[in-house]
């Protein structure tokens, strides 16, 4: 007679069923609409939440095990980097500007995404969706944390790292990513998924992380490379969640298509504006460059993005509305952005400078149709002003776009000699924009964007009332240390002196 023995180990499929799908239940004290109050107002129709597919089939117990292992490896390398003075292995301390921008502007975005996915894990009724969002929420908080820890070592030696949280809240250039995430977080759950899960994580993330992490590797920054690797394996899961979500919405009901398309148009444009910072970093801030912004856009935008939208065409999705305007901007945007960062660098918690002759030769090779014609003459004139002892600081301050909150530095799609200026009136007030894309976003939901906290406007209101010194104090910027030209900065002097100590007998 055979004994019936209980099976010791669950199969992967059984485990996933028990530890994910079976965690849900049907409520009886309250209706489903009361328990999930935000899932219908955006107009997305879902008929069967069980159709949600989880390609990863990851359960929470395995998740913790994998993540803990990654953390152990990450902190071992970060410790070694600190103990071996890894900061002296970077190409040049001017590289640190890219890290300062990353810490002030992007890491807080990871944290914001963590908050957003925690909310989505609560608001979506489907269990598979809930668990995937909860895991991504924890991932995003982990990314923010590992980035802050990795970069804290540079804070021991260099200026501009010490107040990234204040910068995130108050700095004028940080309102660009902050307003991006605030916009997504204050939207409904489905729009959030298109904004962060699809547009940011799927369409644009490669343009952010690949150039950034390769830039770190090219410039000897092992701390940043390490947090990049530690985050990379999570990104594959995030991309899958974003893509799964959009397919799910489109397959559930044909009426969802126009709503989803509207969000793709909006969030592609917002994301594209955000990536202007990355392009500027690639073209101007890396002492050892990886590829130009134009080249990166060719691979990750045109090729990969194009393939994605061809794939989604079977659902009726077309490429985002701003796609052609984006392509026209590629050869100009990094130069226009950098000219702004330079002339307002009395108000930045990172250093910038005029590109060297070598750098300009590289730029004209990478941008043969635009750099010499439009941008080299401006840098040449700025060099002349600097050499005359009157470096250019633009005290006129910047006009900002009501939607993306970036200074309106970008030109007309078909005329690189004219700044693109758009305005509209709503309830008797004037509002200005950097592009048709940003104006469309405003006009679709004006009541949302009239509340934009525009930092240049705030500078002239209480509590600052136009006092530049009080403003610097308020954003925790230490003048003469954190801001201004890299040439002649304390970071430059210290790095050169320390590297000399490390490599010679003086």
């Amino acid at each position: 007679m055979d004994m019936q023995v209980a099976k010791k180990k669950l199969s992967l499929k059984e485990k996933y069923k028990l530890m994910t799908r079976d965690l849900g239940w049907d409520t009886t004290y309250h209706t489903k609409d009361e328990v999930f109050p935000y899932v219908k107002y955006e107009g997305i129709k879902i008929h069967d939440w069980d159709k949600w597919e989880d390609p990863f089939r990851l359960t929470m117990d395995s998740y913790w095990k994998y993540q803990a292992e990654k953390e152990r490896k990450f902190y071992a390398i970060i410790d070694a980097h600190a103990q071996n003075n890894g900061h002296l292995n970077i190409t040049d301390a001017s590289y640190l500007s890219a890290l300062k921008i990353f810490l002030q502007a992007i890491s807080p975005g990871e944290y914001a995404a963590g908050k957003g996915f925690a909310r989505m894990g609560r608001e979506f009724p489907g269990v598979g969706t809930q668990v995937a969002c909860q895991m991504q929420s924890i991932d995003e908080i982990r990314h923010a944390q590992t980035q802050i820890h990795a970069l804290s070592n540079y804070n021991k030696f260099y200026n501009g790292f010490h107040a990234f949280a204040d910068a995130r809240d108050r700095m004028w250039y940080c309102t660009l990513p902050r307003s991006f995430f605030d916009d997504a977080l204050s939207a409904g759950p489905f729009e959030f998924m298109i904004a962060i899960g699809f547009s940011f994580e799927y369409v644009l993330t490669n343009l952010l992380f690949v150039p950034f992490m390769s830039g770190a590797a090219y410039n000897g920054d092992m701390a940043t490379v390490t947090f990049g690797f530690s985050a990379q394996s999570d990104e594959a899961r995030h991309m899958t969640l974003g893509l799964e979500c959009i397919k799910f919405m489109l397959e559930q009901d044909p009426a969802n298509l126009p709503i989803v398309q509207g969000w793709i148009d909006k969030w592609f444009w917002r994301g594209f504006r955000l990536l202007g910072v990355v392009g500027t970093m690639m073209d101007y801030m890396l002492p050892k460059r990886v590829m130009s912004w134009r080249e990166a856009w060719g691979i990750y935008g045109v090729e990969n993005g194009g393939a994605l939208f061809r794939d989604l065409a079977r659902y009726g999705i077309r490429p985002p509305k701003g796609w052609d305007d984006a392509e026209k901007a590629i050869d100009h945007m990094s130069h226009q952005f950098m000219l702004a960062l330079y002339q307002y660098n009395f108000g930045t918690a990172f250093h910038s400078g005029i590109p060297s002759e070598d750098d300009m030769a590289w730029l004209s090779k990478k941008y043969p149709d635009t750099f010499d014609k439009y941008y080299r003459p401006r840098w040449a004139h700025l060099t002349k002003l600097k050499e005359a002892g009157t470096p250019f600081a633009n005290m006129g301050l910047a006009k900002l776009c009501q939607t993306c909150q970036i200074p309106t530095v970008f030109t007309e799609p078909d005329d690189p000699t004219s700044i693109c200026q758009r305005e509209t009136e709503y309830k008797g007030e004037k509002y200005h924009f950097c592009s048709d894309g940003c104006q469309h976003i405003f006009e679709n939901e004006p009541e949302k964007y009239i509340q934009s906290w525009l930092p240049m406007q705030q500078l002239f209101q209480a509590p600052i009332n136009g006092d530049l010194g009080a403003w610097m104090n308020w954003v925790s910027l230490i003048p003469g240390k954190d801001n201004g030209d890299y040439d002649g900065s304390e970071d430059q002097r210290n790095f050169e002196a320390w590297r000399k100590q490390a490599t010679s007998n003086q």
Binding site: Y374, T408, T417
Partner: protein, 117 residues
């Protein structure tokens, strides 16, 4: 729909003119002069004479451009909110109809050292 929301939703702009201690915002752009990364944002009193604003506020700010010495701001062609416009330099901004967050543009055809290079 002015915003996608679960219930009626009315917002308050963060940069109303009453927040500026008696002043207002005016944007000024010198067309095709791209040394200036964006139009200049000025915070000035609505009672200021337009001629005074050009002479005392705008002129010093455009000084770094190599064409600035050759420009007579009383003679240039103007646009206001995208339309051709003839200002009265002897009266105030308010009397010229320049409201809060007004965009002014002036152009100086033929004068453009940094683009001609």
């Amino acid at each position: 729909m002015a915003v996608t929301s679960t219930k009626p939703y009315v917002a308050v702009p963060r940069d109303l003119v009453q927040n500026f201690n008696g002043k207002q915002i005016v944007y000024v752009c010198w067309d095709h002069h791209m040394l200036f990364a964006t139009p200049l944002m000025l915070v000035v009193e609505p009672g200021m004479l337009l001629g005074d604003m050009l002479e005392n506020v705008v002129k010093p700010l455009i000084g770094p451009d190599p064409d600035s010495a050759a420009v007579d701001l009383t003679q240039v062609a103007w646009m206001k909110s995208g339309q051709p416009w003839v200002p009265d330099l002897g009266v105030s901004l308010a009397a010229n109809g320049i409201v809060h967050k007004e965009q002014l543009r002036f152009s100086t055809p033929g004068l453009n050292s940094l683009l001609a290079a």
